[in-house]
């Protein structure tokens, strides 16, 4: 039909885009099973089966990366997940309108800053010579700490700066959910003699539960997809042992050392695990009686 043809014309750029840039790379993943050679291209390179996967799994890097990725992802989830919820709830409890509005506006300002700026601020504040934190510690009689080059500090720095940067932004969703709770529920509770604390516990939290569950599934699914752009900026060779995650390793092996096939195999493994995690989180949530994503 003419209408269909017109719609198809409009859809064409989108179709081409998805085929080339979203499905094309999936096809390009075949190089994980080949010895990719720039001169022979994706088609010409020789098949080698699971060689790169086998190499990766048997290398000492594998366990280290697995541990680091899991640790960073888990810590980010453990500390980063509840904070936006707490922030939204306590913002909601704040009855001074202008204060509520200004604090909300302030807390999501960092979401607008680039990762480069955030990381440079982190380094600036933690610098042993000029950083405020070290100055404060010296003033209080402690020793200077060379935060950025000490492996034992990396995870704390990563997680804390992540919370600083994203908590306000993540709180938006919960704030909207809280705003959607019918005021009559609170009025009824008040009549029944519920204190603010009690109605928070009996009304606000249960009403937020579906949103919290959905966000939890999403975050769990993305747990392994650590903000590698941030890790790349924050880590140093001395902190690789705790900071190196799958995606930074893929970047170094693939794009820096031009070891394309090996890096593609590692990337594929990571994507696979991430998908399995998302599917299982969704499955568990459904089994638990909650809503799933699909």
């Amino acid at each position: 039909m003419k209408r269909d043809r017109q719609l198809l014309v409009l859809f064409l750029p989108c179709l081409v885009f998805y085929i080339i840039f979203r499905y094309g790379p999936l096809f390009g993943l075949t190089i994980a099973f080949k010895d990719y050679n720039v001169f022979e291209g994706i088609f010409g390179s020789k098949w080698v089966g699971f060689k790169h996967f086998a190499n990766f799994f048997s290398s000492s890097d594998f366990l280290l990366l697995f541990k680091n990725t899991l640790a960073l992802g888990f810590l980010t989830l453990l500390f980063g997940f509840p904070i936006p919820i707490l922030l939204a709830i306590s913002l909601n409890e704040l009855r001074v309108k202008w204060l509520k509005k200004s604090i909300q506006t302030l807390t999501y300002l960092p979401a607008f800053l680039s990762i480069v700026i955030i990381c440079s601020m982190v380094m600036d504040f933690l610098s042993p010579s000029t950083g405020l934190i070290n100055k404060l510690m010296v003033a209080l009689g402690f020793e200077k700490i060379y935060f950025m080059i000490m492996p034992e500090w990396f995870r704390t720095i990563y997680v804390a700066s992540d919370i600083w940067a994203t908590a306000g932004y993540d709180a938006i969703i919960y704030l909207a959910a809280v705003a959607g709770i019918s005021p009559t529920l609170y009025e009824a509770a008040k009549v029944d003699g519920c204190s603010r604390w009690k109605s928070l516990w009996n009304i606000t939290l249960p009403s937020l539960m579906p949103t919290i569950l959905i966000m939890f599934i999403l975050k769990t699914g993305k747990m392994l997809q650590i903000g590698y752009e941030k890790v790349l900026l924050l880590y140093t060779p001395t902190t690789y042992e705790v900071a190196d995650v799958f995606s930074t390793y893929v970047y170094r092996k693939g794009l820096v050392e031009s070891n394309y096939s090996y890096a593609a195999a590692v990337g594929m493994f990571e994507a696979l695990i991430a998908m399995i995690m998302l599917l299982s989180a969704n499955f568990i949530s459904k089994k638990a009686g909650g809503k799933g994503l699909w």
Partner: protein
């Protein structure tokens, strides 16, 4: 009475805590700004903790003299405006057929599109595709491979679906083509939704450093974030901590650069609240 006083205590503690959170959030930004407009002596002696001392704008003049930064700034403006324009154009057009219930194979197109959100092949295959198409070292490498963000496409598609059909049907009876309906009716009526996704695209382009870093080799093409990364993170005493004196003086200059890079973002920030929030919300609902 007892309940009443408890309630007050709760409210006060809550307010105080939130004020602390607010201070912690903005403090670093104010500090950076104060350093950038303070005189060198105060900065070197570490006298700045919050407010600037000996206010001057030398650091900003110095930044403008350093050839790298103004050029990078212009590059970023170009990449961001051109990129956002392409994003908006393609997304606005693509969302339309997908929003029509009678569009042929619509279910399958949508399935194919949504699936890509879960199938993430990683950076290497993406890089090979972009390189294979000969896009590297040009603005196209930053624009075309991310011309559509799936989430933004879905947001716009659901917005189109929620629009009233009356005007569209009137146009249909008048014999308007789908192109006319899209460009003369649907797009003009979608300004709030377009503004919301434009904001996401804008922020994405303005703040991106990783893609420019891997796709651009020619340093004259670098956007601001890549130059910032080189300046702030890779070439100073921050890491070695031994070059103390040398690292101190440019502190003001570095911070001035950071502030300059934030200006456009801070300018759209007041408007952002409205549009960003609604975009995040639709995004979350669609999950």
């Amino acid at each position: 009475m007892v309940g009443e006083s408890k309630f007050n205590l709760f409210g006060v503690i809550n307010a105080l805590l939130l004020i602390c959170v607010g201070i912690i959030t903005v403090y670093p930004i104010i500090y950076i700004f104060s350093i950038s407009i303070s005189d060198t002596a105060s900065v070197v002696q570490g006298k700045i903790t919050l407010f600037p001392r000996g206010i001057n704008f030398d650091a900003y003049l110095e930044v403008l003299k350093d050839k790298r930064i103004p050029r990078a700034y212009l590059n970023t403006i170009f990449y961001t405006s051109f990129g956002t324009f392409i994003n908006l154009l393609i997304t606005a057009i693509a969302a339309y057929p997908l929003s029509r219930p009678n569009f042929i194979w619509r279910k399958y197109w949508m399935l194919g599109i949504v699936l890509t959100m879960f199938l993430n092949p990683g950076i290497i295959p993406n890089y090979l595709v972009v390189q294979g198409l000969g896009l590297t070292d040009s603005v196209w490498a930053l624009v075309i491979p991310n011309a559509i963000w799936t989430m933004e496409l879905i947001i716009l598609k659901s917005f189109y679906e929620g629009m009233s059909d009356q005007v569209r049907e009137a146009a249909l009876i008048d014999g308007a083509s789908e192109y006319r309906i899209l460009f003369n009716i649907v797009i003009p009526l979608s300004k709030p939704a377009l503004a919301s996704i434009a904001l996401f695209y804008f922020m994405g382009h303005w703040n991106s450093y990783f893609l420019p870093m891997i796709y651009l080799n020619d340093s004259t093409l670098y956007p601001l974030q890549v130059v910032l990364r080189d300046m702030l993170i890779f070439d100073d005493g921050n890491r070695s901590s031994l070059v103390e004196a040398a690292a101190l003086a440019p502190q003001a200059k570095k911070n001035a650069t950071i502030i300059l890079s934030m200006i456009p973002v801070l300018m759209i920030y007041p408007f952002a609240q409205k549009y960003f929030a609604s975009g995040v919300m639709i995004g979350a609902e669609k999950g």
